[in-house]
Amino acid sequence: MQEGTGKPVFSGVAIGKAYVYDPRQNELPASCGDSELELEKFNAARETAREQLGALFDKTSSEIGEEQAMILDVQIMMLDDLDFIESAQDMIAGGASAAQAAHDAGDAFSAAFAAMDDEYMKARAVDVKDMSRRLVDILCGGHGGFHMDEPGILVAEDLTPSETVQLPKDKILAFVTRQGSANSHTAILARIMNIPTLVQTDISISPDINGKLMIVDGYDGRYYIDPDPAVVSAMVEKLRKAMAYKAELDKYRGKPSVSKSGKKVLLCANIGSAQDVRYALEGDAEGVGLMRSEFLYLGRDSFPTEEELYQAYKSVVEQLAGRPLVIRTLDIGADKQADYFGLEHEENPALGYRGIRICLTREDIFRPQMRAIYRAAVHGPVSAMFPMIISVDEVRQIKEFCRKIQSELYAENIPFGEVELGIMIETPAAAIISRDLAKEVSFFSVGTNDLTQYTLAIDRQNARLEAFHDAHHPAILSLLRTIAENAHAEGIWAGICGELGADLSLTDAFLEMGYDELSVSPGKILALRKKVCESEA
C-alpha cells in the first residue's frame, strides 16, 4: 500500500481505478515531412479502423442487437465519408501528420454536429468523435489521447481550464493533483461536480499507478494506492456514513429556505456550463446565481459564435424551467485565456486587462455574448452581471451598450426578452462606492474570492500565502455588511456568489446582514438550507 496526504477541497470518499493524466498524451506525432507517406498512413489507419468496427459490429449485432450495431455501421460509413476524407487530405497536404489530420477533421465534424439545433443530431457528435479517436489511437499505436474506459480517479500534475473542459466528466470520481490550490480551476470544477478532491498532494506521479485501486478521502485529505483490506473496510464505513448524512440532508429537499425568525433567502448554484445544470438540479438549487461563461470560450481555437452562445444559454434556461438564472459575462484575463484572444502576457494579471475591461474595449467579443443573453431571455428569467467593476461610469457604459443591443435586435426583428442587469462586487472600490452603484443596477452579487484577494493583497493562486489568508478577516465582513446595507437602501437585492457563501459558520451573520441570495456549489445547497432553517437569525 502507498499512502499520502493532500489539501482537501471537497469532502467525500471515492474508491476506484487510478488514471494518470499526462498532457503529453494529447500531443500528436508531427508529420514525417512527406505528405504522400502521411496520406498512406491515414488510409491504412482507416482500413484498420474499418476492420475493428466490422468485428465490433458482428459481435454487437449477435450479442446486443441490430439497433445498437447500426451505430457502428454508421461509424464505418463516416470513415468512408468523402467530406471527412477530403477535409483530412487537405490538412495532410498542408503539412499535418495523419494523426493530427484525423484528430482535427474529427473535431471539426463533431463540432458541426454539436452546434446543430436538433437534440438527436447534436448527440451524434459523439459518434464522429468516437470514429476519429479510433483513427488517432491506431495512428499513435494505441495511445491517442487521454480517455477513461470506466469510472475512476484522475491523478494529474495540475489541470488547466482548457484541459478540464475536455475531460470525460461523467467518469471522474475524484481529482488528485500535485499542484493547484483551493481556488484553482480543478477545485472549482470539483465543487460543481460534487466530488472529493485533493490538491497539493505529495504523490509521485508515474505510469505504474495507472489502473491500480485507489481511495481518496476528501474528509481527512488522504489517499491510498493498493489499499490494505483494513483501510478498504474503514473507507467503506466512512462512505456509508457520508451516505447516511446525505440521506439526512435529503429531508430538506424541496423545502423553503427560511430561518426561525422568518428570514427567507434564495439558495442558488454556481455552474460553469450548460452541462452543469444537472448538478444544480440534483443539489436542489432554487436557481443559478452564477453561471461562469468562460468555459464556452476555453479549450477551442476561435471565438464561439452568437448562435453557439445562444444555444448554450437557452439550454440552461430551459433546463431550469422558470428558476432564475444569472449569467456572468466573460471574465477572462491573461491568466485564463485561449490563444485566439491574443492577450499579451502580463506581470500582474489579477490587476490587469481582464473582465469588463476587455468587454468594454472589445465590442467584437462583448456584442455576441450580450445578444445571446438577450435572446435567451425569451425562454425564461435571465439576468446578466458584470465582473470587475470599479466605477459608476463603467456601469453607465454597459447600460448604454445594452440599450444599443436591444435596439439592434429590435431592428433586425430578432426576439429578445427582459434582462435584469447587476454587477459583481469584487473590488474594494466597488464595495466602498456601493451606494452609488446601487442606484444604477438591479442587484449586487459579491464575489468573495476576488474581494478577499484584493482587500488582503493576497494572491489566491499562491499556495505559500495560505497561512496569511483569513477568509473571516474583519475588513471583509465589514465590507460585506456595507454592501448589503447600501443595496437595500436603494431597494435592490444583494447576494453572495463566492466560496464564502457556503461557509456555514457565517450563515447566521449573512442572514443578519440581510443577504437575499447565496449562490454556492451545487453539492452544498442542502447543507446550507439545513443551516438556514435551524438559524435563529
Binding site: D81, A112, D118
Partner: protein, 86 residues
C-alpha cells in the same frame, strides 16, 4: 436529369440508421445523386455526414436529383427506398 420529391412520414425523420441505408443505396449508382430539404442547399446523397446534417424530420419534403448514365434506375430505386423506409 431526374428529380423526385418525397414527404418523410417516419416519426424519427432521417436519423442515423436510415441515413446510412440511404447513402448505401445511392452509392450503388454511378450517377451524381443530390438531396436537399425545404429549398435549402443540396448535398451529395452519397456522403453520410452531409445527409445527417440535413436533420430531416417527419413532414418535411425532400428533393432528390439524379444526373448520369444510370439516372433512370437510380431515381426509381431511391423512390422505392424512400417509400419503403421513410
Amino acid at each position: 436529369m431526374k428529380e423526385i420529391k418525397y414527404t418523410v412520414t417516419d416519426p424519427l425523420g432521417i436519423h442515423a440508421r436510415p441515413a446510412g441505408l440511404l447513402v448505401k443505396e445511392a452509392a450503388k449508382y454511378a450517377s451524381k445523386v443530390n438531396i436537399s430539404v425545404g429549398g435549402g442547399a443540396a448535398v451529395d446523397a452519397k456522403r453520410i455526414m452531409g445527409v445527417m446534417r440535413l436533420a430531416v424530420k417527419q413532414g418535411m419534403e425532400i428533393t432528390m436529383t439524379f444526373d448520369g448514365s444510370d439516372e433512370e434506375a437510380a431515381s426509381a430505386a431511391l423512390e422505392a427506398f424512400l417509400k419503403a423506409n421513410l
